[in-house]
Amino acid sequence: MQRSKWVLLFLAILGLVLLAACNKKESTEEATTPATGSKPAMAATPIDPATAASISGTVKFDGAAPKAIKIDMSQDPACKGANEAEAVVVNGGNLQNVFVYVKDGLGDRAFDTPATAATIDQSGCRYHPHVLGLQVNQNLEIKNSDPTTHNIHPTPANNREWNESQPPQAAAISKNFAREEIMLPVKCNQHPWMKMYVNVVKNPFYAVTDKDGKYELKGLPPGTYTIAFVHEKMGEQTQSVTVAAKDAKTADISFKQ
Amino acid sequence: MDWHQLWVIISAPDNVPIVGLIPLLCFYIYLAWKQAKGNDDLIAELEADPAMAKTHHRKTWPFKPGWQKEVHVWPFLLRIEFLAAIIITIILMVWSITLNAPLEEPANPNLTMNPSKAPWYFLGLQEMLVYFDPWIAGVVMPTLIIVGLMIIPYVDTNPLGSGYYTWKQRKFAISTFLFGFIVLWISMIIIGTFIRGPGWQWFWPGQTWDHNRQIYEVNRDLPDLFGIASNAGKMIFGALVVGGYFVLGGLGVYSLFRRYMAKDFKRMSLVQFSMTQVFLLIMLALPLKMILRLAWHIKYVWITPWFNV
């Protein structure tokens, strides 16, 4: 799998170079012609795994942790499970559900769409996970493990909006998002407390902080990056981090209410 | 100095003929003057030398006995005529290729052009409208011009100067004609074309034609200047002035003729002389009236219930 990918990449680059070399005229015209549909495929620049660096860290919450808000799920008897709101989840000063990603610094580098799908599970009238990251055009599978009907209703700003019903035990809904969008809200109209955020990014360098507020971005080529930390309520903060080959840097940050 | 404005006026397609006319006229006056001078010199020489007068072929051009006195029209004249036709064709074509005939917006009776001008060859008449009532400028004057031109052969009794350019033999005739043609006709056209702007106001060359320009001008009538108020008084006074002009002017012309053009005067019959007198005076009245108007803002000299002069 990995191997064939590299071979493909190499072939693509070779093709491009050849095209540019032997038919310069054609390629300039192509460039001036406004692309219909997608841009001419930009080859995914290989990242040498040997030099790849990583960034990790912890996201803190400044101040007293707010008490968890109880959700009244009595409206639907089928909803059983933890009934605490997930907006601001703090465990010992560490903030969960912060989306961390490389916002800038990768230049024009393009990345392949992962073949594996990201998944959302609906169980206990909650979305799992609460914050999800995925790449542009990556498949998103939505499952319903509840004995009740849900509907999945993303309300994006830059992507197409849809709203689909999913009865219990129904087949998974498969969707994708074509444009980058951070903190795209998804909700269920029947269970108003059900909410989650999807983050669609162009590169594979993203993570969501876990219970302990930890995250890690792996496989970064050396360079200087703007790392963005986004929380659904408290907004975005950024940090600039420079990594050399094989570096393992830490970048911590804290959010204030 | 508003060069842009000047250029706009000069380059208006319909003004181009007038722009062309000025150098053309200068050239032809020069050409005529050169030949007249040559002839006059020759005449003086011959007058002084009767013997030579008998033998000389009496032209400025060279001549040798044995040369043909008359030449065949074909080819000697026609070749020139054809050449002229070709040249005119060339001029016309080049002009037509380079300059488009004007075509403005479709006629719109509700939108008055300012200035709205007559065709350029009538601008002299239009310019006269400033100084005279339309019936004089537009009807009487043109008629008199035509009649005046027509009577020229009948009142010009001078037998000399027929068929050759001369100045000395026809001083009076030529100066009168030049005055009428150049001063009264051509220069009025030039004024009408280049000087008269919006509202038929006077704009010096290089002055901007401002549509909103306001000028103050109060015109009086001659009788007012003398404090004559009653209509009858004005009528009588005007009649007297106009009559007086003709009587006195007639006398003046007479005395001039008697003194300086005795020969011509002698040759003229009474009708011929009085006609000359009248047309001469009318012609002179035009610049006089213009001066009255421009210098003293006099509008009318003679006011009657039916017409004003």
Binding site: - | L46, H72, L78, N100, A101, P109, P159, L160
Partner: protein, 323 residues
Amino acid sequence: MPEENGNGGANGNGGANGNGSANGNGKERVGLLQRVKAGVQADVQALKTDIPTKAKEQMDGLKDPTKTQVYTSIFRHKHDDTPRNRALGILSNVFLHLHPAKINRDAVRYSYTWGMGGITFYLFIVLTFTGALLMFYYHPTKVQAFRDVLYLEHDVPFGKLLRNMHRWAAHLMVIGVWLHMFRVFLTGSYKKPREFNWNVGVILLVLTLLLSFTGYLLPDDQLGFWAVTVGTNMARATPGLGNEGPFGPQMGMTPYNDVRFGLLGGSIVDANALLRSYIWHCIGIPIVASIFMIVHFWRVRKDGGISGPAPVMLEAEGDKPRR
């Protein structure tokens, strides 16, 4: 064969008929065929000699085109360079017999005549020619007139050139007439016996101006419209005949019956004025002007050719009648 014919029913039909009858004739008249064959052979033989002879004759005839019937039917005399022929060239020519056969040797000098009369006449011809072509495209109606001019400008081949030439030739003609008059006056050419021709000339001057003026309105644009409005407004003031002229009202003149109304065919410059202007411009004045021109040219010759350049006269000779 059947395949070929089978393409269309009609063709097949005709072909079959024709073939049938031809075949039939051939079989019936065998003797005739031989006779015809012999005749044709004889003809071919004769042709071989006749054609070259004829061709030679033809070529010889063409060597001197002046001998051809066509040529002699057009030109009535020879054009050898003899004085006679030179004279005949003028005298026997309908176009050129405006001129005498011979003229004063100095009359060919441009500096004397300025050529203005001839140029004016030439321009008149140009104007007639271009004008006639313009008439093909022009309708003197309020709806069409302006449109037609646009059409001329943009659609008609050489239309723009044609219109430009017409316009500029008209202006040139006015200038030419003035200069002509100027020259005639300066050379005293109106003097006896040419008094009348001077008058004809004055009339032609007026007609020229009127021709030009009537043409001004025809494009039906603002320029022409207001020029003509200004021009005809003066007619309003004609003494006795215009509603604003002296004694006009007393003569019962109103805007609806005065001389201006007559000129315009209405109280304002409108469709009627356009039509009148068109007719005067294209028919009325050109005819009158042509008549006067004929008289003018005729009188030039009858009055003794052009006036000069004459020998200068001395003061003393003034009162003697000239020879």
